[in-house]
């Protein structure tokens, strides 16, 4: 498949870049461990760029991804999210928020010793769709859930 090849190339380029950064980083110890961070994906300001940063040219919707989260968040500062992938060969799970200034919130590499079942808590500026992007082999799959962010308290 065309995009699969491209993906591998992109990945190769990135890992080379990472290796270079790591080499430079080793001279600057504080930067070293921070070098693998996917800057392009995390700093993307559109969903398309975030996907691109993650290497996902295309993604198909999948019923095999579960997003476990309350429909309403009592406060946008802390929104608990759990994602479970039943897609065989899942190697990465990412959480994206459509209406946040930077969409990508967190990504998890699912190695052979980890179940594709991860939980974290994120900030949401407003009511928005949450997208869970799953990588399995060369392919990407998504699931979407809307979470309403409500105004709580006396508002003062």
């Amino acid at each position: 498949m065309q995009y699969g090849t491209l993906n591998r190339r992109a990945l190769l380029i990135r890992s080379t870049a990472t290796a270079i950064a790591a080499a430079i980083g080793s001279m600057v110890p504080t930067r070293f461990a921070f070098a693998a961070w996917n800057k392009a994906a995390f700093e993307a300001k559109t969903m398309a760029d975030a996907y691109k940063g993650l290497g996902a040219a295309q993604a198909a919707e999948s019923g095999d991804i579960q997003i476990l989260a309350s429909d309403i968040a009592e406060n946008g500062a802390v929104v608990p999210l759990q994602a479970v992938s039943k897609i065989p060969g899942t190697t990465q799970i990412s959480f994206l928020v459509e209406k946040n200034p930077n969409m990508l919130a967190a990504l998890f590499d699912i190695g052979p010793d980890l179940l594709p079942d991860v939980t974290t808590r994120i900030k949401m500026g407003q009511t928005s769709n949450i997208i869970v992007l799953v990588k399995a082999g060369d392919k990407y799959f998504t699931a979407t859930k809307e979470i309403k962010v409500t105004l709580g308290g006396c508002g003062g």
Binding site: T30, R31, A33, F34, A36, W37, N38, F42, A77, V78, V79, P80, Q82, V97, N100, P101, N102, L104, A105, A106, L107, F108, D109, G111, P112, D113, L114, L115, D117, V118, T119, T120, R121, I122, K123, M124
Partner: protein
């Protein structure tokens, strides 16, 4: 160096359930202080988990993960007495490592 994490790791039916609380501001970089100046982003960027000495989980975060982050994941295998070690690195290069024994 940051304050210590709280790590709980419990083994059941061949799976080790790990729950972690970390002490961190997770500043978005979009907020302004009282004088109107933007507060720079400050957040945990990378997290690594090891079971005994083997890396089992790696995660990358942006500043939209909540303050005092919570993280839960499930390791295949692991048993009582094993060691779970969690490390994080933030975007300023600060790091913290803590460990817990699987119960």
């Amino acid at each position: 160096m940051g304050n210590p994490m709280k790590i709980r790791a419990a083994s059941k039916d061949g799976v080790t359930d790990v729950k972690v609380l970390m002490s961190h501001e997770m500043e978005t970089g979009f907020r302004k202080d009282a004088s109107g100046a933007t507060i720079p982003a400050w957040f945990i960027a990378e997290i690594t988990a090891k079971l005994n000495d083997k890396v089992v989980m790696q995660s990358q975060w942006g500043p939209s993960v909540s303050k005092n982050p919570f993280l839960a994941f499930k390791i295949k295998g692991g048993q009582k007495g094993d060691k779970v070690v969690i490390s994080w690195v933030d975007n300023k290069g600060d790091t913290r490592t803590d460990e817990a024994t699987v119960t």
